[in-house]
């Protein structure tokens, strides 16, 4: 089984979000980048398939050379090869279009992406990619087993979950649940050394123009100070009469 894990390179969850002076671009200064958390769960599940079922695991990112440390981290954790499509990731549509030829040419059986990137929260790349490649698709996937050509996937729905059966090739939008928090791996010295010599291919074909463009960003207005109360009665009173939410 050949697995491709799509890796989005995102600001660490503790990052303060700031923009440049004219509010048109994210200010990357001082920001630490990581593997998108949803993708890290997916990558860890892919490595489980590698170890238990002999799968090959490749990782791919659409982005500039600044994303390579993130791809190297995925290699250090255990992925076999990495691919970077050298293109600025604008909207989800262009990212999906840039990934589609990689998926087709690489003849992957399973593509694991994340439910959403925690930066732009598109939640669209896996579904679009599935449609562009003609693969089956399961979103918000919290469990995945593969037996031959058949996949059993568990999907989170509002208020519960659903078990689905489908055939490979398959794309999932994954999240926590694919593996547990405690299964996540930290690269060790040996992994980091090996990652230096593992292949990292750079592709330069450009995909079609974006269908959307962000004109400017805004930060939420500063909050008013909290109103502290002493007891439940005062709280109920304020929630009823002032906030009008009960």
């Amino acid at each position: 089984m050949k697995i491709l894990v799509c890796i989005s390179h995102v600001p660490d969850t503790t990052s303060k979000i700031n923009f440049n002076a004219d509010q048109t671009e994210f200010d990357t200064s001082g920001v630490q980048y990581v593997i998108n958390p949803n993708d890290e769960f997916g990558l860890t599940r892919a490595l489980w398939f590698k170890e238990k079922q002999g799968a090959t695991v490749h990782v791919a990112n659409v982005g500039g050379s600044e994303t390579e440390p993130t791809l190297r981290k995925a290699l250090a954790i255990g992925a076999d090869e990495a691919i970077r499509v050298d293109q600025t990731a604008t909207d989800g549509y262009t990212v999906a279009q840039a990934l589609a030829p990689i998926v087709k040419e690489g003849q992957y059986d399973l593509v694991i992406a994340g439910r959403e990137s925690i930066d732009y929260n598109g939640g669209m790349v896996p579904g679009m990619l599935a449609k562009l490649c003609g693969f089956s698709f399961v979103n918000t996937c919290i469990g995945l087993e593969i037996d031959g050509n058949t996949a059993t996937a568990v999907r989170e729905i509002d208020g519960g979950k659903e078990t689905l059966k489908t055939e490979l090739p398959l794309i999932i939008g994954g999240q926590k649940g694919l593996v547990e928090e405690s299964d996540l791996r930290i690269p060790n010295m040996r992994g980091i050394m090996q990652a230096r010599t593992k292949p990292l291919h750079v592709k330069t074909e450009q995909s079609a123009a974006a269908k959307s463009q962000t004109l400017r960003y805004e930060k939420p207005a500063p909050k008013q100070a909290v109103t502290l109360v002493d007891n439940a009665e005062q709280l109920i009173n304020l929630l009823h009469n002032e906030a009008k939410v009960i």
């Binding site: 689905l164 059966k165 929630l239």
Partner: protein, 320 residues
Amino acid sequence: MPILVYAESDQGIYKKSTQELISFGRAMADQMNTEVIAAVTQDASGAELGQYGAHKVLQLEHQALSDFKAENVAEALSQAARAVQASVIIVSSSANSKYMAPLLAVDLEAGYVPNIVGLPTSYTPLTVPHNVFTNKASAHTALNSDISVLGLSKNAYGVHHYETSAEITTHNPELSASTVEVTSTDKASNKVMIADAEVVVSAGRGLKGPENWGMIEELAEVMGAATACSKPVSDLGWRPHSEHVGQTGKPVAANLYIAIGISGAIQHLAGINSSKVKVVINTDPEAPFFKAADYGIVGDAFEVVPDLIQKLKEFQAQNA
């Protein structure tokens, strides 16, 4: 060119998020001098959908649409959109809509923007405000495709009332067999879901252990609220993963969010920030949550929560 709204229903009932979607579509349609058409996959009442603003109801009829299958719904909506020549399709932030929307967007070669928090700020080109960085910021994004798919955040617009009675017409899409088959569904029927809840009662590691959640569930029940928790609480297995809210969990856009024994880490706050009113109950006055909350009680959850339950019951008895 009309606006098509995917009006999801649950056993014939239109949730508030669907009502809101139609009202949002109507406000856009009024600006664009066009009409809003509610696309439904189950039997609908034109009078009911008209009340929220729909001019027309388009009933999509096909056996495959009796249960939700993302591929089929996407195909049906894209055919409907072409049939009525819609330029905008509006979907909700439900798990099903978020699953389906990217498929629909590719089918229609449409730009797709999710997490929209207000009406367009421009119609030429169509420009919409939406949350990014998990609610740590918002963006104004312009679409340059002929057709646009817009995903509306919950509680971002509200339900408005109209006196329109929508005429119902049917459309029979041609659907291919879904490649994904549902083998079982496991859904709590009597629980309020985080996604729909007006009020969410959430608790963190300050509760010390899973055995102490009785009072949290009771508080939620009294308030008709959904229960939620911080990430470590679900990682520790005290509560199910489905209750984990925050940047890497579920987003919460409730009217009222009550955080009990939760410190207010940046990742937690990111996910719950778009809730309207936030209340914190924490023993530590320095807990970062107090900076993000509207109301707070510095106190021990084990004393405050039982008292709150008691006083709420009295309040409800008086206001009944």
